[in-house]
């Protein structure tokens, strides 16, 4: 089944330049419906009122981290099945294990390239 590139994607990062980079890379991959949040709590509010098909989130943010956001998403009846990709500089194995245990769909370590983003998105959404 073909991937619907019209899904809404929410990207979450406290670095504005990072949001811009991910948005541009998504645009190149054909995903144009992209919203931005600068921390977990802002993202959660947007997720509760919106309809998102993918979350791409940084980990290290305040006041709500990416891991806390992931846990909130997985414990919310409406949001629990939303694919969630963590994009972070946190690369210790204990971080990956914690994210996996919290239900992350995939994990990208910064710095990353467009090919890695595409591969990880394909693994959660299907090939495109």
């Amino acid at each position: 089944m073909a991937v619907d590139k019209n899904i809404n994607v929410l990207i979450v990062d406290d670095y504005k330049t990072m949001l811009r980079i991910v948005r541009n890379l998504l645009k190149q991959l054909g995903f144009n419906n992209v919203d931005e949040a600068t921390d977990g709590s802002m993202a959660l509010q947007m997720l509760r009122v919106g309809n998102y098909g993918l979350i791409i989130s940084d980990w290290n943010m305040e006041p709500m981290t990416g891991l806390q956001l992931l846990r909130e998403v997985r414990s919310d009846a409406k949001l629990k099945d939303t694919p969630f990709i963590m994009v972070t500089a946190e690369s210790k194995s204990e971080n990956v294990v914690a994210a996996k245990e919290a239900g992350v769909s995939n994990y990208i370590v910064k710095p990353f390239n467009a090919e890695t983003l595409k591969t990880k998105m394909s693994s959660v959404l299907g090939d495109f």
């Binding site: 670095y15 504005k16 330049t17 980079i21 541009n24 890379l25 190149q28 500089a89 990353f112 467009a114």
Partner: protein
């Protein structure tokens, strides 16, 4: 109750000092206490007592010289000038890399907007190049995070220096300030100025003109 192996008179004197100063005393009091102890020594003293007095004397002298060396390091200056200055410089690095990254992204986005006007083969090649630019701009986020870690380490050093100044008291805080009367060539190498304190081109032009 005198401790085993300590002369009875000495134990009584120590007890008197303990009554006066309590169980723990400040470092600056050690010399005073040792002097008081020595002053009260009367009558016959044993070889063991004498050894103890000498040990205490040399301990006091060691602490005094450590205080003086630490004062020379000017820990108050480290706390009040050097660390805040280093933190400001690091913040400026984050700010300038962010501005530069945004400028690069602006330029890349403008180029990308030209793609539809180009031959498809050229447009595809250009998109690949622009993708590389986007990917390379990842560095700004990582640089920012690394610098934030360094700033946290500096804060810890600042706290430790603070503790040191408090433990050693006013003597360290008022240590001798290095006199700088004539600026050497090295003194003039200050590197880029922080945006808040930088002299702009117009001011430099005015200064240059003032020599005419």
């Amino acid at each position: 109750m005198p401790a085993k192996g300590i002369d009875h008179d000495l134990a009584l004197r120590l007890e008197a000092i303990r009554r006066e100063h309590g169980e723990s005393i400040g470092v600056d009091k050690v010399g005073e206490v040792v002097a008081a102890l020595l002053e009260t020594v009367t009558g016959d003293i044993s070889a063991g007592d004498l050894r103890l007095y000498h040990e205490l004397e040399s301990l006091a002298s060691y602490i005094q010289s450590a205080k003086s060396e630490i004062a020379q390091l000017r820990p108050d200056e480290i706390r009040s000038d050097f660390i805040p200055s280093a933190t400001d410089e690091l913040d400026a690095i984050v700010g300038s890399t962010e501005t530069a990254t945004n400028n690069i992204l602006d330029a890349a986005e403008r180029l990308e907007a030209l793609s539809p006007m180009l031959d498809p083969e050229v447009a595809e090649r250009m998109t690949e190049i622009i993708t590389t630019i986007y990917e390379s701009c990842n560095f700004q986020d990582l640089t920012g995070q690394r610098i934030t870690k360094v700033v946290k380490v500096l804060k810890v050093i600042e706290e430790r220096v603070d503790t040191l100044v408090k433990v050693f008291g006013a003597q360290v805080e008022e240590g001798p300030k290095a006199a700088k009367e004539v600026l050497s060539d090295e003194d003039l190498l200050n590197g880029p100025q922080l945006p808040t304190s930088a002299t702009d081109q117009a001011e430099i032009d005015r200064l240059m003109a003032s020599f005419d």
